[in-house]
Amino acid sequence: MIDVTTYIRPGSLEEALDVLASGEFTPLAGGTDLIPHARGRGPRKMLDLSGLSLDRVTRTASSIEVGACATHSELCRDAVVTKALPLLSKAAALVGTKQVRNRGTLGGNVVNASPCADTVPALLNHDAVAVLVSKDARRKVPVEAFITGPYATCIGPNELLTSIVCEPLEKPTFVSFLKLGRRQAVNISRMSLAVCLMMDGKGSIKGARVSAGAVFPVARRMREVERLLAGESPSKRLFAEAGALAAQLMVKESGVRWSTPYKRPVLAALLERALAEAASGNFGEQ
């Protein structure tokens, strides 16, 4: 049974922030993580965000602002997101099931901060910034800094994540997103990789963005790998080196576990594959 003692569904952001000011309420978006938690020792006071219209996608000159309550399904079909942030769209399409994607939100996925959250590696590649507001303040924190550990963030008890601002990458950029799991749906990532290759006019990699989920305690950009790729021409050898480096980083940071003998070579192979897929241009260009 869900033992929720107080439930409030405000109709305006101001009202919501007033309630949150007490520091006692947990914001409820899609509930796909929160409600299962609430069956156990989860939160008892909930603030439902569904009346706040926080699900809009807004395009500005230099960035795209995605409302925190945009559902994964919306990210899959929104014209702006699919065109300008194809990685995010692809990652959202791999979350849970249709039912979970219809309820679950981008903001929820980020605040829950699971090491295997599907959208986070995509967001990292877009230098995404979380917009946090409280009754008397508003601040912007890069998603990379926002998530501080497994299931931990720097959000204050009186703060609300209202949107996430993403920077589209300059053209031409080739992307790919790969996910390793144990089945085709309701599939918790055992590994996810988001890759962006920004190309110069001569066929070389001008810059790269490579992020990994479920590989490190916290999803993160692999800047070591990005540096290795920058300035080089795409080649099988280069991508294999990048894969090997990623595997090295994983062992260094996550330590050796029962799954390491398998995961080390598989991460290397998958990153190589993701890079080759991005370079082929098959997956998508933005």
């Binding site: 049974m1 033992d3 144990r182 089945r183 085709q184 749906a185 309701v186 598989v266 998958l270």
Partner: protein, 759 residues
Amino acid sequence: MAVVGRRVRRVESLDRVKGVGSFTDDLTYAGMLHAAVVRSPVARARIKHIETGRALRRAGAEAVFTFQDIPGRNVVPIILEDQPFLAEEYVNYVGEPIAVVLASERETARAAAKEVSVRLEELPPILDLLKARRHPRVHLFGEDNVFKHLRIRRGDTAAAFSSCDVIVENEYRTPYQEHAYIEPEAMIAIPHPDGTIEIRGSMQCPFYVRKAVTSVLGLPESRVWVVQAATGGAFGGKEDVPSLLACQVALPAWKLKKPVKLVYDRTEDMVSTSKRHPSWVRYKSGATRDGVLKAVEVEYVIDGGAYSTLSPAVLYRGTVHAAGPYRCDNVKVDSYVVATNRVPTGAFRGFGSPQILFAAESQMDQLAERLGLHPAELRRRNLLRAGDTTITGQKLTVSVGLEETLDRVLEASGWPTGQKRDDGVGYGLSTVFYGVGLGAAGKHLARTGARVIVHADGSVTFSVGTTELGQGMTTVLSQIVSEELGTPLECVQMIAPDTSRVPDSGPTVASRSTTMSGNALKDACGKIRDVLLAEASRALRIPVSDLRIVEGAIVPAKEEGPSMPIDEAIKSCTTARLPLSAEGWHVSTSTSWDDRTGQGDAYVTYAWATNLAKVRVDRETGEVTVLKMWAAHDVGKAVNPTLAEGQIEGGILQGLGFALTENMFTDERGVIVNPDFSTYIIPTAADSPEIVSLLVEHPYPDGPHGAKGFGEQPLMGVAPAVANAVRDAVGVRITELPITPEKIWNALRSSRRVPVTQR
């Protein structure tokens, strides 16, 4: 035949889609209390003290019952009667019931159950099935921890192996498989003022439940009335376990004189209820150069858990199916079910046969490889045909459609036989069989009853003792009744299975409902037909022997002459005060088993099947994608082809879970590590390959309209077909289920590519 053989829609389908249903947790009664079960947190311990004071002080808590409150026998009567209903001196597995707590609300009962403190003196548990067998010090059951040992002795294996050109010997392992039915176990008991007690719940076997409740409460069977509620899936998991739940509600209901409901939550269900037996198999097979299977030696050990429950029967089926559907003159099988300090395992679709068939069919492919024969060719040279004798010495006479299932699959699949391409794609075959019904191990239960009433308005109700579990029994039996009486299908209604309506009809297991209840219904309908035809004969002045029922009318067998609508015949019988109701009864043809040699007519008949899996293996990640599956089953007669195909599709998906992802295990203290659906990975609809279902019909003369049971068979051969396909795809042989990416990756890494025989 108008109705039998037709693809009519499942009776419940529309209600299920609309969310209409009377599942146990939908039912409520005035004054009803809720129960929660106090369970052992450890795998083995002596109970020192049970302290209930704190739990009883919680607001809303009503009572706590332990074994001391049981008026009858503290035993769950199944086969060996070694399982207590509530633990007394010892607990023997994590999750074993110790006490039942009652409260006005479910959550209160669950919270109070946590406050019952049980002081335990922990003992070292025995968790490994091979270590448990003949353990020198710990005796969980008898002297050797063996619940049952079965053997087959046929021919002379030692001599036969010496004349074989190839011998393959291997060990195989399979883990638990959890039933993962949609609806967890659930039960309600309602005591009545007349001294009877009514039990309603999710169950396969109302008569088992009745026996358990009469035993625990010390009541005669006449005072315990059991009705099946709509049941959301079972797969064997609701064969024996509901007996436990029924007692967990019946005892407090009886004592407190109030209705009591109990619904397990998912984790509780996964931790404490039965599963497929984990297995260990050592398998040796030998063949001659020309591809004749000469000898098979099998040692088969399965983990029965802390109490024997249905294990001896499970072992029986596994033993009979040990050599696969082949002729083999020299066979030695020793099979054991052992006691461990783990949750009691029990019935699960296939009932001890999927584990051994995984080994047997993996062996066949290895023989084929060593002999340089195509896997289909080796099987064709050995498969059982009419006139052959099984490894138990049973002579097969009719309804042996195995070879046709093989032909149909080969034809439909267009399995390429040319040069093998190095693209990670492979094909894998399995041919399997299924002994229909309970067989000699359960022959005392091999009877079933039915009751049919034709009402004055022409509508018909019928009752049987077997249950609807989602398999489509209600629809199939309604079709049979409609066919027999000429009543339109929409006018035929099944009454929920109820122990007060028909005599003990045995359990709903062993794919037996269509044949057993179908035959009993035919018997009952036949008696009513006699009355109707006699009445029509009088009116039409045509001898009964020249009349038939065709599409709602009684007509002369020869085309000409007067006819009479059924409705009119019914009216006429009603006016004449003739009884249009009858009881039907069916007893299986005899089976036999010699415990010393394992020889006998093990089952009344067999269903047969061929499966072919097409897979792609990712060499870098070890992931297997099942691209397509073909399955042909000899079902005797498909009373409803759509439902038969549904069984095939569902069985394949459940079999793919067993083959590839489902991996429940315990830690070193005997605690199940993954009792939830985020870590126990069952396949989803998105994981289903394209499935080609092929129905083969070699009629079984003793089945209704030629039908045989086969509901379990679709799962049974899936794992070996996949294992064989993986071998074909990337050259590695996985002998332990599930076939995880890690295992394939490791095998690829260590094997350095053993080349697959080219063909």
